[in-house]
């Protein structure tokens, strides 16, 4: 495919900085139309996440997690309030370019695989951005490598010849190929076997280490606890809590009231009579403390 579009955009694409993007929502509201009615899905959602931060988006089914990710990605436009990417909102001249640096991995993203080869599937996004083909190839190869699908072995495979876990990785590679500085993930662990989940956690840890800003919508509180430094609890489209994890007198009941539970290691710490605020994030650290 011949690159088209303005040179600035081509340059902005593959050459951009890899540091994370700051994200803020200021009074974001959104509602779906159903018949003649409006179904409010997000109500006055406000929070800020620093560049390189990691935020778990939790809440009961139907609380608005997916909607919030779609509004942040710009697939749905907020009815009110603003999404700020590195401080820029939709009126700002920088906003459109920043929006292209936001990657969203959909729920069960492998359902959207469609190209004839894994390489072409992962290349779809960068090609849409009209990157030069050499830059596309470099970005796709790197992304396939990151997700554990070495391009030499997997690039030419038909997506449907891959296992379910491999398809999930390929879908993630398609988003990573665009080198997002803000990565939004919608229930990325659903339907993965435990081994593939462990691999995905390691991939996300690495991206986090590289400074990519992460927003992870999940009902898996254990993996949210393992991966994310901060948490945002949505309840019927409103922010019920946001910031550092808090499992004090207010925290645990709030989670339960929202159809969630404490992470396993937090519950263990509490039941061992230790301070839940000091609960470790992974089994190795927990074993270290208990051995």
């Amino acid at each position: 495919m011949k690159p088209r579009g303005d040179a600035e955009r081509q340059l902005a694409g593959p050459e951009r900085s890899s540091a994370g993007m700051g994200l803020a929502c200021a009074g974001v509201s959104f509602s779906y139309a159903e018949g003649g009615e409006r179904l409010p899905a997000l109500r006055d959602v406000s929070f800020a996440l620093e560049a390189g931060g990691s935020l778990a988006l939790v809440g009961a089914s139907g609380a608005g997690k997916t909607t919030l990710l779609q509004v942040i990605r710009g697939l749905d436009e907020a009815d009110g309030g603003a999404v700020l990417l590195d401080g820029a909102s939709s009126g700002d001249s920088r906003y459109e370019a920043l929006r292209r640096e936001v990657g969203l991995v959909f729920q069960i993203p492998e359902l959207q695989l469609f190209a004839a080869t894994a390489f072409d599937d992962a290349a779809f996004g960068p090609r849409q951005l009209a990157w030069p083909e050499g830059a596309v190839a470099a970005a796709v190869d790197a992304a396939l490598e990151v997700v554990g699908l070495p391009p030499a072995a997997f690039g030419g495979r038909h997506p449907y010849s891959l296992s379910g876990g491999e398809q999930r990785r390929l879908a993630l590679a398609g988003v990573l190929a665009m080198r997002p500085r803000l990565l939004l993930l919608d229930e990325p662990f659903v339907s993965l076997d435990p081994g593939t989940r462990r691999d995905l956690v390691a991939i996300l840890q690495r991206l986090k280490g590289d400074g990519v800003t992460l927003v992870l919508a999940t009902h898996d509180v254990d993996l949210a606890w393992a991966l994310c430094d901060e948490v945002l609890l949505l309840a019927e489209g409103r922010v019920a809590a946001v910031g550092a994890w808090d499992f004090g007198a207010a925290g645990a009941p709030l989670l339960a009231a929202n159809r969630l539970r404490e992470p396993f290691l937090v519950e263990l710490w509490r039941r061992l009579g230790r301070d839940p605020a000091t609960a470790p994030r992974d089994f190795a650290a927990a074993a270290e403390a208990l051995a």
Partner: protein, 298 residues
């Protein structure tokens, strides 16, 4: 069409399938093979599985190990390529007639509820199967109400399925499958998209069905959900590599890792402790067991 049976296990369509002894084998397959057209290898290669009335059999295995294929075969939705024996509630899954009748007795809930929701709104979706079976309208209404309330869907009954959250869709699909009285239920990762409370609700509902005498085959990637099973079957590339009590599977950590499975969180922590020199007397599979082993408060 006859009136609906009063109880799932009360009036089997085929008299030959009536329970002859207390724990009738409702699902009974042996040497089950399936190969997708054009595929180089079997998706299922000689599988044995029995599930009796009231029995809960968990099925685990990596993505692509054949679990979902098994679900479709047990539900009579796909024809086995070969089998020594393939009976579902007494119906022969090797014949087209047997598969057709089996589909009424064996409910199957799939991984992705999107593929199972067909109607304009939640309550119509729950009623869909009953309408196909030509139940009388008042019976349908009563049964649908019962299902909506059992799965917490009453307030969503007029909602269009595409406006539901993932978890709400899964509960709607489950309510639709169970609206038809079943004798056996095959669930393919039914809790994957649910929040923790939704997960508990579905597991409680499945426990209730088990107590009512349904045979349950429960496919899952959640190792916590395997712990309470009567038996667990582990698949690797379409072949059964373990069949027995859950503890036996989890005790074989090498096998668990090879199969890309895991242990319940308590077990994983016990392994991490062992790696640091603190060995527990036995492998805990629940938090209570772990606290006992650690000598902490319960």
């Amino acid at each position: 069409m006859t009136a609906p049976p009063a109880h799932p296990a009360a009036s089997p369509a085929d008299p030959a399938a009536a329970p002859a002894f207390p724990a009738a084998r409702l699902l009974d397959v042996s040497g089950l093979h399936y190969r997708y057209p054009g595929a180089p290898a079997d998706a299922l290669a000689g599988l044995d599985l029995q599930a009796a009335e009231g029995e809960f059999v968990a099925v685990v295995g990596a993505n692509g190990s054949g679990k979902s294929t098994l679900a479709r075969l047990l539900g009579g939705l796909q024809k086995p390529t070969a089998a020594r024996r393939a009976l579902a509630c007494g119906h022969d899954l090797l014949t087209e007639e047997g598969r057709l009748v089996a589909r009424r007795d064996v409910g199957v809930l799939f991984q992705n509820p999107e593929n199972q929701l067909v109607a304009e709104c939640v309550e119509e979706d729950v009623a869909f199967g009953l309408e196909n079976l030509s139940w009388p309208a008042p019976e349908i209404r009563r049964r649908v109400d019962e299902m909506l309330s059992r799965f917490g869907l009453v307030s969503l009954r007029r909602r269009e399925p595409h406006l539901l959250s993932g978890g709400q869709k899964q509960r709607t699909a489950l309510a639709g499958v169970l609206a038809i009285p079943r004798r056996a239920l095959v669930l393919d990762e039914p809790t994957a998209m649910l929040d923790p409370a939704g997960r508990r609700e579905v597991l409680a509902a499945v426990d209730g069905l088990r107590a009512e005498g349904l045979a349950i085959v429960f496919i899952t990637q959640e190792m916590d959900e395997v712990v309470g099973a009567d038996r667990v079957i582990a698949l690797e590339r379409g072949t059964e590599v373990y069949a027995g009590p859950p503890q036996g599977l989890f005790d074989d950590v090498q096998l668990v890792r090879r199969l890309r499975l895991g242990l319940p969180a308590s077990g994983e922590l016990a392994l991490a402790l062992a790696a640091r020199g603190r060995r527990l007397a036995s492998l805990p599979l629940t938090l209570d067991d772990l606290l006992d082993e650690l000598g902490g408060p319960r």
